[in-house]
Symmetry: C2
Subunit: 262 residues, 2 copies
């Protein structure tokens, strides 16, 4: 099987024109098949403010009412997605920007939560591998925005980390998938304030220990849980590290490697 990279880029890189441009250059230079998943950044919040749409964030998720969904679809699926695609095209990387509604590629349902109404937030049910494989075979890199649909006509705001994870899992039967989470830190760190305290390798056993000893920053736990869930569903390797160092992250010189092997 050939190697496939599924790479998530976080919002704070998208907000920084220079960092984004440098990241996209690294992404475009990857010779293997590759998929990019981008988050939202501050632009949606800014636009909502300008339009006087009150925003409410609960446990890291944006409560998505009708007006907020409109903002999300405009900023994520429109402005950010198409600008990333246009930049990649200029770097001779043939990219195609999709939401989960396009080609019915990510089917989701409106989140059902016992106490919080998240509004139009989607949890993923399935990924359409056929279209993705077909695009990969045409040497086209898909760029996903964090928007899915329910196939009943409703768009849904969906966590980009989860999209990356589900895409990676679904394609793991067809490719050797490496799932890369990039963000503003050097990797998973023992001390959140010390960028040199990156943990280079985390296995299931080490993760259990680190959690027991409370050495993992709480904010990293959902990311790591996602990573191990991906590994147990067939993804070969997960890496977490700095977006500006994508080259070294991919070749293992920087960042945190998460794997089942010790």
């Amino acid at each position: 099987m050939s190697k496939l990279f599924v790479i998530k880029i976080g919002g704070n890189i998208i907000d920084d024109e220079k960092k984004l441009s440098s990241f996209l250059q690294s992404f475009a230079s990857i010779k293997n098949p590759k998929i990019l998943v981008h988050g939202g950044g501050k632009l949606a919040t800014q636009l909502a403010e300008q339009l006087n749409i009150p925003q409410q964030i609960v446990e890291g998720r944006r409560i998505t009412d009708t007006e907020t969904l409109k903002v999300v679809s405009m900023v994520y699926a429109g402005y950010i997605n198409k600008n990333i695609v246009a930049q990649l095209q200029s770097l001779n990387c043939n990219a195609i920007g999709l939401s989960g509604a396009d080609g019915n590629v990510i089917l989701a349902h409106k989140r059902n939560h016992p106490s919080i109404d998240y509004g139009f937030v989607g949890d993923i049910d399935s990924v359409n591998k056929t279209l993705l494989q077909n695009l990969i075979e045409q040497n086209i890199s898909v760029v996903f925005c964090p928007v899915t649909h329910d196939k009943k006509g409703q768009l849904l705001n969906t966590n980009a980390d989860t999209i990356a994870q589900e895409i990676a899992k679904s394609l793991s039967g067809l490719y050797d998938v490496e799932l890369i989470y990039t963000f503003e830190k050097n990797g998973v760190m023992l001390d959140v304030n010390d960028e040199s305290s990156v943990i280079h390798n985390i296995t299931t056993e080490k993760y259990r220990q680190l959690k027991e000893e409370k050495k993992i920053f709480a904010g990293m736990i959902p990311k790591l849980d996602n990573a191990f869930a991906a590994l147990s569903s067939g993804v070969k390797i997960v890496r977490i590290g700095k977006a500006e160092e994508l080259d070294q992250l991919i070749n293992g010189k920087k960042g945190t490697l998460i794997s089942n092997e010790s």
Copy 2:
């Protein structure tokens, strides 16, 4: 060769939720391969107003400065495009929403005009047939928003009528292409105020006569010029008529048929 419909839907239908929904039901029910091209509608103008971005329209084209391009990419490529795709998916029509940057499918250049600076308005250079043909073969209907790119990283606001025409022309060697322009009127009319004065057939010769006798409403001339240009580039038939009557427009019971044959 199999038949392919390239259908343009105008802005005033997009602005009307009920009319749009009815149009999309007709579109979804077409058994042949089909491509949809949508315009912008009032939403971009409304958003620009809300964001205090002054808008200037010269000869029917929006002068597109940086801020207006942002609005255009948000509204056209994001909100409108993804909502149309989600609605078509709910009607079991497997749609994929693209800008010209996606898959490098429509390459354009910034308009060069001797006296007017249109800003980021694009004129089309070429259409990538390979990707379109591949999607058609997967029974996927492409939904185009009126945004293209220059492959140098710049998105460009591009006339939807022209996109429909260029797509139709480029695919005419591979399919028997019917190009359908839908708008708010019953068709091309002898008297612009009389909806019953629809001209059922226009040939090249008849068009010449009608123009000579000044019986064609000035606003229709660019549309008809586009139609004849498409015909002379291999498109089989052009039809112009009411969006709400797409079924009867396609089967020739309503609207204006434009062809080379008398």
